[in-house]
Amino acid sequence: MSLSVSNLTVSYGSHVVLDQLSIEGLHRGSFTALLGPNAAGKSTLFKSIAGLIPVHSGDVFLGDKNLRTCAKKERAREVIYLPQAFYSSLALSVFESVLVSLKQNVSWRVKSSDVHQVAQVLELLNIAHLAEKNISELSGGQKQLVALARILVVNPKIILLDEPTSALDLHHQLSILTIIKKLTIERGFITVAALHDVNLAAKFCGQIMLLDKGEIQTQGNASDVLAMPLLGEAYKVETSLERSREGQLYLDAKLLENSNLAMA
């Protein structure tokens, strides 16, 4: 079973954000990075795959199933989108906030199977000790783990993460991505993460997609994409591919000589 997108067009008013965009099959157990400059439409792409915003045309397939024609609830079980900004102050305990993901029916009561499921996930992510704490009391890294717990408890097939490391320090960036990669492989998720750090993307993700000018400019093996001049063009920087002592490829980038330092 794989995720594919064909001819997806999304516009805000007259501004076309995604133009006939297509993605080739992303398979279960694959962790793909979505790269692209600011305002390239990464969040829009995620939201349109998850069905959060109206799409002008195109289809999103999970295997043979067209997600665009699915009912909202069914789609929510298959795809989960984790937005960029995660709630800052909220008087809701970690346990409750994970439980919410399971409880989208009308019943007021909580089933013991739901409670067991939440407990298992909190234990799996080693955040059981935070269960009674309020979300607002957590650090950035802990909040991201809770967000992951909320995804795991639903156990979807597709996970779309919008800059999951943006508010984290280096240690937490590495640990969150390690956990995501491990879970993706173990549980067979199709995971796509929008990332800003090209080298982090290459380190953790097998595949990279580059989104620019409303289209996927390239999609392929991380090391191949890293070597492409397209990447530098998209970010308007000069890139050179280097190899670390451990043999890991990494991209070194500098501003173009004629680039405008004002935030153009």
Binding site: L52, P83, L92, S97, V106, W108, A128, E132
Partner: protein, 360 residues
């Protein structure tokens, strides 16, 4: 052997987690029960206090058996005091729920019917009826003021609803719109007052101060029926509302039909707020403070937050009713004045204590 030990340890940890959750749930239910008991005591106290103080036990007797202490007490308690006391509870609950729902829906702890202009619209409607006799419904006599207030409040909520339907309009815009409505209706009200006669002015001012004296069993019937429909309706949506507290996009991603939920809840808010204001006039603060205290006590899981906001709103207004009678024997102060007078210091104390605790 090691693996089985590890497995046992994990199971034990999960068991601890679950017991922790169950304990926190029962603590919240205890909290609700305590407020229910306090509310019952306050209700009986409210009935027993007034000119010609009757003892708590006498009042309980008459409440259990209408004729136990003669016709005089029956009339005083059943026809006069009880409707007022019950109305305080019902209106308080309505204000508490509508405040809680508004705060959740608009993601703003300052939202309540009063701050969003609903009450000012109702006041203007009432003033319009008092001064000009103009109303939406003809030939209703003394009900005109109440009906006008109700309809103006409802129309304002309808405007908020329409605004919500416009694509791209965020919650911030709705709050600003509410504030604009507040000022617009206040200005029109001032205009109305300016042109009013002395007697009309007196009636407007008295209406706006908020009073329980218009209470009747008919009002109680309508109020209870409304609550009996709206409360379960909201309780069936508490998980979806909690999901909304985690962010709009998160809620959408969980499959919540946000557009529909918003409209359903705003209709509930409109009916509750409009009815409450039409019954007793403008009573600010209850819709703000009730939910605020509820949030501090049980957090924002809406399945406890909404009922506790209702109970605390009811308790606040019931206590206010007692204070309004007990302050100066023989005088019943307008309840709107008392809510602010006791509400403000209590509210400030809670906020200061809470922020101190958070900074520790």
């Amino acid at each position: 052997m090691k693996v089985s030990n590890q497995g046992h340890e994990i199971l034990q940890k999960q068991h601890d987690l679950i017991s922790g959750f169950v304990a926190s749930e029962s603590k919240k239910i205890q909290m609700l029960t305590i407020v229910v008991v306090l509310l019952a005591i306050s209700l009986v106290l409210d009935v027993s206090i007034g000119p010609g103080n009757f003892s708590f036990s006498t009042v309980l007797d008459v409440l259990m058996n209408r004729e136990s202490h003669g016709i005089k007490l029956e009339v005083i308690i059943w026809d006069y005091r009880l409707p007022i006391a019950v109305t305080a509870v019902i209106v308080g609950a309505m204000l508490g729920i509508s405040g809680a729902l508004m705060q959740t829906l608009l993601n703003n702890p300052l939202a309540e019917p009063f701050t969003l202009g609903v009450s000012s619209a109702a006041s203007f409607g009432a003033a319009l009826a008092i001064v000009t006799g103009i109303g939406f419904v003809a030939n209703v006599g003394s009900l005109l003021v109440t009906l006008n207030a109700f309809i103006f409040a409802l129309v304002t909520c309808g405007l908020l609803l329409l605004l919500m339907r416009i694509k791209g309009v965020g919650t911030q815009a709705i709050i600003l719109f509410g504030i604009a409505i507040f000022f617009a209706f206040n200005a029109m009200l001032a205009m109305m007052e300016y042109g009013a006669s002395e007697t009309q002015l007196q009636r407007i001012v008295f209406w706006m101060l908020g009073s329980l004296n218009r209470a009747s069993w008919m009002q109680i019937f309508w109020g209870t029926s409304l609550l009996a429909i709206i409360m379960p309706f909201c309780m069936m949506r508490t998980w979806r509302l909690t999901a909304l507290r985690l962010g709009e996009e998160s809620a959408l991603s969980m499959g919540v039909d946000l557009a529909r939920l918003r409209i359903e809840i705003l209709i509930c808010i409109s009916l509750l707020a409009a009815t409450a204001v039409a019954f007793v006039g403008t009573i600010g603060f209850v819709g703000l403070v009730g939910p605020h205290i509820a949030r501090l006590l049980v957090g924002e899981n809406q399945r406890y937050f909404i009922p506790l906001s209702a109970l605390l709103g009811a308790l606040m207004l019931s206590v206010t009713s007692i204070v309004s009678k007990a302050l100066t024997p023989g005088i019943i102060y307008p309840i709107g004045i008392i809510t602010a007078l006791i509400g403000v210091p209590v509210f400030l104390a809670i906020i200061i204590r809470h922020s101190k605790e958070q900074n520790l």
